[in-house]
Symmetry: C2
Subunit: 584 residues, 2 copies
C-alpha cells in the first residue's frame, strides 16, 4: 500500500492491525463517551439555536468520517461549546432563529468550514492556526465561556434575552429579570446546583464511603445522565410543559436526513443556485474563524493526549479529517463540529486506542436517535442550559490575566483586547482584533530591536554591552550588536540608530555590526544596509560586519552589498577589532 495513501487515510494503517483487545478498549470508551454525548449534543444544539435533533445528527456521520482520515486515537469529535456559540453568532446574523433559513445557514456554515479545512489540510496550511497566539486563545475561550453562560440564562430562568454580547445581554437581564418564569427557574437552578454538587463532591464523597476509585469515577461520569433522567421524570410527572416550562418536545425519530443547503428547502425555489451562493459569501469569514478555532482546540487536545502515550498526531491530517467531518455534518442535518476538549479527555481516560471508538460512539448515538427520542420529550431546556453552564465553567481561566501581565505586557494587551471585545462586541470581532493585535504587537516589538554598543571584556576575546559590563572600547571603532533579525519593520530603525550613534562620536572611522543574533536579513533590510554603507562612506566611515551566520552570509553573497561594502566581513568580532586597530 502506498505510504501517501496511508498518510491521507490513517485507517488503512491502524485498521489492518485492529484486533479483539483494541475492540474491547475502544468499545468501553465509546459507551462512556456516548453517555456523555447524548445530553451534550442536545445542549450544544440548543446553544447553537438549532432543534435538538441537529445535535444528535452532528454526532453521527461526522464521527464516522473523522475515523477515516483522523490521526488521533483519542480525539472525540462532535458539537463543542465554543464552536456552537460561534455558530449561533454567525448564523444569527443572516437568519432568524427558528426559521428554515437558520437551519439552512447552519448547514452551509458546516459545509464551508469543512471545505476550508480540507483545502487547508491538503495545502498543508496547518501552520496558519499558529497565528492564534496563546493569549488570544485564552482570552477568547474565557470570554466565550462567560458569553455562553450568559446566553443560557434565558433558558435557565425563562426570561427573554437576545444578543451576541454582554452589552446587549446584561441590560436586558436587568430589565427582564423580574418577569422570570418561576417553574423554569426552579427547575434550571435546581439542576445547576445538583450538577455542580455531583461534579465537585460525588467522587471524593463516594471514596470516603469506601467505594473503589474506579467505581466512584464511573459513578461521577454517569451522574449527569442520572440528573437528566431525574429531570425528565419530574417534568413528566408534574406536567411542567403545561405550566409553561419549555421542554425539548418532539424529536423526530430516526437516522439523519441527507441535506443540501439551498436545495433541500424553499430557498432553491426563490433563487436557484444564487441563494446558496449569496449565503456562502455571507458566511465564509465566520466559517474560516470557526475552522481555525475548531482546529486549534482539536489539535491542542489531540497533541497533549498523544504525547502522554509518546505518540504523535499529524496536524495536516487532522485538518483534512475535521474537514471531511464537517462536510458530513453539513450534508446530514448537523452543524459545525470539532474535537472537543472535555469529551476527548474522557475518551482517553476510558481507554480509547483508535478512531474506531468514534465509530462505536456514532452507533450509540444512532441507537439513541432511533429509540430514545420519545423519552426526551419532557426534558426541560432549563436542564440542558444547566448542563452547558457547568461544562463551560472550566473554560474561564482567571489566573491567565495575572500570569500574562506579569510575564509580558504586549501579550497582556492582546489578551485583554480579545477578552474585552469578545464580551463587549462578539466572538468574531474579538478574534479578529486579537489576531491583528498579536501581529501588530509582534511587529512593534521587533521594530525597535535591542542594539547594544559592545566593548571588549578585558583579557578575553569576548565583546559585551558597554552598559551592562566593564569593557574596553577602541577609539575610532564603534561596535554594535543587533539582537534581532533584520527585516522590513526594523530596517529603518537600524538606519536611524547607526546614524545617531555615529553622530555623537565624531572620531569614529569604523562601524562593526556584530551579527551573531541576526537570523535573517530580508530585502528591505538589505537595502537599508546598502543605504547605511553609502551614507557612512560619504562621511568617511567604513562599515564592517562580523559573526555573520552561515545561511545569512550565503544569501548576502547573492546581493551587491558585499561587493560595495566599504569595509570587510570578519569571522569574529575580536578579529575585526584587531585588524582595524592596526589600521587606526
Amino acid at each position: 500500500m502506498s505510504p501517501a495513501l496511508e498518510r491521507w487515510f490513517p485507517i488503512l494503517d491502524w485498521g489492518r492491525r485492529y484486533n479483539r483487545s483494541l475492540l474491547t478498549a475502544d468499545g468501553v470508551a465509546a459507551v462512556v463517551v456516548t453517555l456523555m454525548l447524548i445530553p451534550q449534543s442536545l445542549a450544544y444544539a440548543l446553544l447553537a439555536g438549532l432543534p435538538a435533533q441537529a445535535g444528535l445528527y452532528a454526532s453521527m456521520a461526522p464521527l464516522v468520517l473523522y475515523a477515516l482520515m483522523g490521526s488521533s486515537g483519542t480525539l472525540a469529535v462532535g458539537p463543542a461549546a465554543v464552536t456552537s456559540l460561534m455558530t449561533a453568532a454567525s448564523v444569527g446574523a443572516v437568519a432568524a432563529q427558528g426559521s428554515a433559513a437558520y437551519t439552512e445557514a447552519a448547514l452551509m456554515l458546516a459545509l464551508l468550514s469543512g471545505a476550508i479545512m480540507l483545502v487547508m489540510g491538503a495545502a498543508r496550511l496547518g501552520f496558519l492556526a499558529n497565528f492564534l497566539s496563546h493569549p488570544v486563545i485564552s482570552g477568547f475561550v474565557s470570554a466565550s465561556g462567560l458569553l455562553i453562560a450568559a446566553s443560557q440564562l434565558k433558558h435557565l430562568l425563562g426570561v427573554t434575552l437576545q444578543g451576541d454580547n454582554l452589552l446587549q445581554l446584561l441590560p436586558q437581564l436587568w430589565h427582564n429579570l423580574p418577569s422570570l418564569h418561576v417553574p423554569t427557574s426552579a427547575m434550571g437552578l435546581g439542576a445547576l446546583g445538583l450538577l455542580l454538587l455531583v461534579r465537585r463532591q460525588l467522587k471524593p464523597g463516594l471514596k470516603r464511603l469506601g467505594v473503589s476509585a474506579g467505581a466512584a469515577d464511573l459513578a461521577a461520569k454517569a451522574a449527569p445522565v442520572v440528573v437528566l433522567l431525574l429531570n425528565i421524570a419530574l417534568s413528566a410527572v408534574w406536567q411542567l410543559a403545561e405550566q409553561g416550562v419549555r421542554v425539548v418536545g418532539t424529536v423526530p425519530q430516526g437516522l439523519p436526513p441527507l441535506t443540501l443547503p439551498g436545495v433541500s428547502s424553499g430557498a432553491s425555489a426563490t433563487g436557484g443556485w444564487a441563494a446558496p451562493w449569496a449565503l456562502a459569501q455571507a458566511l465564509w469569514v465566520p466559517a474560516l474563524l470557526i475552522s481555525l478555532v475548531g482546529f486549534v482546540e482539536s489539535v491542542s487536545v489531540g497533541q497533549s493526549l498523544a504525547a502522554k502515550r509518546r505518540e504523535r498526531i499529524d496536524p495536516d491530517a487532522e485538518l483534512r479529517a475535521l474537514g471531511l467531518s464537517n462536510l458530513g455534518a453539513g450534508l446530514t442535518g448537523g452543524f459545525p463540529v470539532t474535537g472537543g476538549f472535555s469529551r476527548s479527555v474522557v475518551n482517553f481516560d476510558a481507554g480509547a486506542r483508535t478512531p474506531a471508538a468514534g465509530i462505536y460512539t456514532a452507533v450509540g448515538l444512532a441507537l439513541a436517535a432511533l429509540f430514545l427520542t420519545p423519552w426526551l420529550f419532557h426534558l426541560p431546556q432549563a436542564t440542558l442550559a444547566a448542563t452547558i453552564m457547568v461544562a463551560v465553567l472550566t473554560l474561564v481561566d482567571v489566573g491567565v490575566f495575572a500570569r500574562t501581565w506579569h510575564y509580558a505586557k504586549a501579550d497582556f494587551i492582546a489578551l485583554l483586547l480579545t477578552f474585552g471585545l469578545t464580551l463587549a462586541v462578539g466572538v468574531e470581532a474579538g478574534l479578529i482584533a486579537g489576531v491583528s493585535a498579536s501581529v501588530l504587537l509582534l511587529l512593534y516589538r521587533t521594530s525597535r530591536p535591542h542594539i547594544a554598543v559592545v566593548g571588549q571584556v578585558p583579557g578575553t576575546e569576548h565583546y559585551r554591552n558597554v552598559l551592562r559590563h566593564a569593557v574596553l572600547e577602541q577609539p575610532g571603532i564603534l561596535g554594535l550588536r543587533v539582537d534581532e533579525s533584520l527585516y522590513f519593520a526594523n530596517a529603518r530603525f537600524l538606519e536611524d540608530t547607526i546614524a545617531a550613534q555615529v553622530a555623537v562620536r565624531p572620531g569614529v572611522r569604523h562601524v562593526v555590526l556584530q551579527c551573531s543574533a541576526v537570523n535573517d536579513i530580508d530585502a528591505s533590510a538589505l537595502e537599508s544596509l546598502e543605504t547605511i554603507n553609502v551614507r557612512l562612506q560619504a562621511s568617511g566611515v567604513q562599515l564592517h560586519l562580523s559573526e555573520v551566520k552561515g545561511p545569512v552570509l550565503d544569501r548576502l553573497q547573492r546581493s551587491h552589498l558585499l561587493a560595495e561594502l566599504s569595509g570587510q566581513v570578519f569571522l569574529t568580532h575580536y578579529q575585526a577589532v584587531q585588524a582595524l586597530t592596526l589600521v587606526v
Copy 2:
C-alpha cells in the same frame, strides 16, 4: 524657549539663526523649484482629475505650513505623482469626475489624511510606515508609474479612456485608439518627444558645445518650462482649442479660497453635517493609505538628502508637518500633498538650506496664480500629460524584479503580488495585498525556524550543527539550537520538532536547548516550553536551557517555567554537556 516647543516647531530653532547667506541660498533654490513646480502642479491636478487651479492652490499654503513644523531643510512639499494617482482612484470611487462633489471629496481626502498624519505624529506612530517593506514599495511605485502613464494616454492622444487599472484601460485603448484625436496626438507626442530629448541630450549636448557645467545644468532644468511656453504659443497661434484640442482654459486668477468640505458646496443643503461625515467614512481607508505612502516617500527622500550633509530628520516631526500641510491643502482648495522625490532632489542640488525655501516657493506660486494664469489658457492638456509621463518614467524600476528574485523568494512574492494587483485591480488593492503578504510571509518564514542538532567541535568548547560540521554527539544528550526568537507563530513548531527528534532517539535522557539566537520568548512560546517540559518529563527526559540571553532570562524568572523545569539552566552549552555527561 522650551525644547519640547522647538521639537514640535523646528522653525523656532532655525528661524532664530536665519541670516542673509541662508536667505540667498534658499532664495536661489526657490526660483529653480518654482519653475519646476508651476507645470508639475498643473499636471498633477490633471492626474488627480481636478481643475488646474487646484494644483496651484495645493502648492501654496501647504508649503508655508510645512515650514512651521518640518525638520528637513530640503524637502519640497506639494502635489506628487503617486499620491495624485491615489487621489484620483479614491475620489473617483465616491464621485463623478468634474462634479462639485469630486472637488469636495478631494478636499475631504486631504483633510482626513492631514488629520491622520497629525495624530500619528503626535502619538509617535511613525514606525507604522515601516510596515511598508521595500519590495512592497518598489512594486507599488513601479506599478503606479505604469498606471499613471496609462491614465495619461487619454489626454496625450485625445481618446476616451476610463478606469483605475490596466485591465480596464488597455481593452478600451485597443478599442478607441482608431478614433484618436489627430491634432491632440500630434501635440502630445511632439511634446513627449521633445521633453525626452531635452531630458537625455540637452545637458551633455550643451557641454559638448563648450557650455559650462553649471549653465548646462540650469538650461536642462529650465527646458521643460521652455517646452511648455512653446506649446502654449503654438496652441495660441494655431487656435488649437477650436480644432478640438483640450486646453487648460480659464484658470481663476488670485489666491486660494478658504474651503470647508461639505459646507462650502451644495452638499450641506442636502444633508447638513451628515454628508461630510458619510464622506469621511467612505474615504478614511484611502486617506490612511495616502498618508502612509506620502509619508514613506517624504521621509525616504528627506533622510537620504539629510544624510548627505550629515544631518538628521525627525520622522515624527515630519509626520506632524505633513499632517498640518495636508490640513492646509484641504482648507485652501487643494488636494493631498507630500514631499516629492524629484523636486526635493532639485531643491537640494540648488542649495536649499532651510524650510524657508518652501515659503519662497509658495510666494513664487502665488505670483504665478495672480499674474500668469491668463497665459495658461492655451496650454494643451496633452502637453501636461507629456510632462507627467516623462516624470513618472523614473518611477519604474525594472531591475528590482531580478535583484529581489535572486536575493529572497519571499520578498519577490510580495513584490510581484503588489505590482500585479496594483496594475490589475488598483492602487488600494495592491497596497493592502502587499502589506498583508509581507506580514504573512514574515510569519510563515519565522514559523518554521532553523533548528539545528548541535555537537561538540572536537577539542574546543564550541558546538555546531551536526549536518554542517564534523562534531561529536554525547550519547543520551540531545543538543538543539533554535535560530529564531520563540513566539506564537513558531511555538507549536518547536513542540513538534522536539517531539520528533526525541521520538527517533529512544536513548535520549537530556534535551539541552541552546538559546544563543533566541532574542525573545513570548507568552505563547513560554506555554509551549512548559508543555514540552511536562511532556518530556512524562517520558523520562529532562529539559535544560543553555546560553539564555540576559533580558530573556530576566523575563523567564518572572514565570513558573524555571521553577518547574525538570533540568537546569546553564551559562554555556559546553558546561551543560560537561555536567550532564557526568550524570549519564
